[in-house]
């Protein structure tokens, strides 16, 4: 797809759109690549100075074109991209649009709108945070059961920017120890603890890309949730918010070369050695959680523990078997909360707002596909659905459950390529539920019972005697 997009440009001999590199100069660009998780977090902060001839109201950055390619849904993808303008009184998120066109370096430009234009000679501080899922690959692809897993990250030692950069540095952070193998240049990089630093480089021309490769030890599972179905059941009569999450999980780390050996596994566990297999995972739940359960296809899994801390309850669950690279495990987690924590009544009669985190899944997980279903009471009318996370499709459906006749109102949100950090995004659902709709269910049962009583009354009136009464 990339090539076909490039082809017309090559044939005509006109280069694809390039932002004018003379508009800005970037001063002191500090980039941090965080390789401590299942996914890559790439964040930067820099000073952008208008060195052009006119005031500017927007600027450009670039992302790897394949990160936004919809043709191959399971390749490395951008899960988060956030640009913030930093000022003395806090930071503001900036709107951005990713260009469709792919340039000769296989990059796509990102146009970022500024709230107010920068005058010539003026500068602003910009912070960029991004996360890429499914980018880290194990090397070698297959390891022995007790071997240590290594991952490879590939990128550029300088950030690809359409403007000249005065000074730049790239820091790569590891969780355990510095990389085993990495691209070396003269005096470059330098190692300090678990941080690898490329640079500082001075006066880098625009659109520089210098590929580097880093191989590092990561003896933890790469938790990839291929599918998540998250359901939030709002019950007004019960005053309860029930959450049920069904997971299809895979460990995308290094696979086993041989068959799984139970004896070796016991030895590893006894010696408390670290392993790239998923033994246990943690889920941070919201305060006031009740009735937590962990089940799978077989039934209840007893190896879970809720650390019921008042502020930050943590559910730790252990799958039935260690999930090695390439292995799958599907399971269900569920819990209850008082509805008062998540639903508020507004000033207008019968209008309620629900506030829940978008995700509440395991720590250090990446998601390929996630469906969030908000199941509202029967007869509720959805007025608005909003979230700080925008990249979702929204659908209104209905669902039948206990004592339902017309079906419950369901808001279904579908998203792709997310990380556990998206739990910070909140979801608000504003809905209307009249008072009589709230009492519909007991009245429905009462009507059925009354029908029985009435039948008895009528049947009692039937004269079944054979002879006439004297």
């Amino acid at each position: 797809m990339r090539f076909t997009a490039l082809l017309p440009a090559l044939l005509v001999g006109v280069a694809a759109f390039t932002p004018p590199s003379t508009d800005f100069t970037v001063r002191s660009y500090l980039r941090t690549v965080d390789l401590m998780k299942s996914y890559v977090r790439d964040s930067s902060s820099f000073i952008l100075e208008n060195t052009g001839a006119e005031p500017q109201s927007s600027f450009y950055l670039a992302v790897n074109a394949s990160y936004t390619d919809t043709e191959s849904p399971l390749s490395a993808k951008l899960a988060m991209y956030e640009v913030k303008l930093k000022s003395d009184d806090g930071s503001t998120s900036l709107k951005y649009t990713i260009d469709d066109e792919v340039n000769e370096d296989q990059m796509k430009y990102v146009k970022i709108e500024l709230p107010k234009s920068i005058a010539v000679g003026q500068s602003v501080t910009v912070q960029l945070a991004s996360a890429v899922v499914r980018e880290l690959v194990p090397l070698p692809k297959k390891i022995k059961q007790a071997e240590v897993q290594n991952l490879v990250w590939q990128g550029s030692r300088v950030a690809y920017i359409p403007y000249p950069v005065v000074k730049q540095r790239t820091k790569i952070k590891f969780s355990e120890r510095p990389a085993n193998a990495y691209s070396r240049f003269k005096d470059d990089p330098t190692i300090d603890g678990t941080v690898l630093t490329y640079g500082p480089y001075e006066n880098i021309p625009p659109q520089t890309y210098e590929p580097i490769r880093v191989k590092y030890e990561y003896n933890q599972p790469l938790i990839e949730i291929t599918k998540l179905e998250r359901e939030l059941w709002v019950s007004h009569s019960g005053g309860n918010l029930a959450t049920e999450e069904r997971y299809w999980l895979t460990n995308s780390g290094a696979e086993l070369t041989d068959h799984f050996s139970r004896v070796r596994w016991q030895a590893t566990t006894m010696a408390q050695q670290s392993t790239p297999a998923l033994k246990a995972a943690q889920v941070h739940l919201r305060a006031g959680v009740r009735d937590v359960y962990f089940t799978d296809e077989i039934g209840n899994v007893s190896t879970s523990n809720l650390r019921d801390d008042y502020r930050d309850p943590v559910l730790e669950f252990r799958p039935r078997y260690p999930v090695f690279g390439g292995w799958n495990y599907s399971f269900t987690l569920g819990w209850n909360h008082d509805l008062a924590r998540s639903v508020r009544e507004t000033a207008s009669e019968g209008i309620y707002v629900l506030r829940v985190p978008l995700l509440e899944g395991p720590v250090n997980a990446m998601y390929d596909e996630a469906d969030v279903l908000v199941v509202l009471p029967e007869g509720a009318k959805v007025l608005a659905v909003d979230s700080s996370y925008k990249d979702m499709t929204e659908e209104l459906t209905s669902l039948y459950s206990h004592l339902d006749v017309v079906g419950r109102t369901v808001v279904k949100l579908s998203a792709r390529d997310m990380t556990d950090e998206h739990r910070r995004n909140e979801l608000y659902v504003t809905y209307e539920l009249s008072k009589d709709a709230q009492y519909r269910k007991p009245i429905r049962v009462a009507t059925a019972v009354f029908a029985v009583f009435f039948a008895i009354i009528l049947l009692g009136k039937v004269d079944v005697s054979i002879s006439k009464k004297a």
């Binding site: 005053g239 029930a242 707002v353 506030r355 504003t430 269910k441």
Partner: protein, 82 residues
Amino acid sequence: MSLAGSNLWSQGTPFTPAVSIDRQPVAAIALLLSGFVLTALFSMINKSGFLGFIKQLFIAIPASLSLGFGFVYLLCAVGVYV
């Protein structure tokens, strides 16, 4: 970040259910018991004539309401939040 929902949220008051979660079992037992007592009464009263019919109706209505609400709270009390 200005979300319409977050504004409504910050101005709203926490939702209060008609019967709080820890009182649901009590509510269910009380309502169901009174429902059964009324049902027993229903079967015992004099059914003859128009007056009997009215009497039966006057017991059947509160009995069915009591059983209806009682059943819903019973479901809630056992964890089926309908």
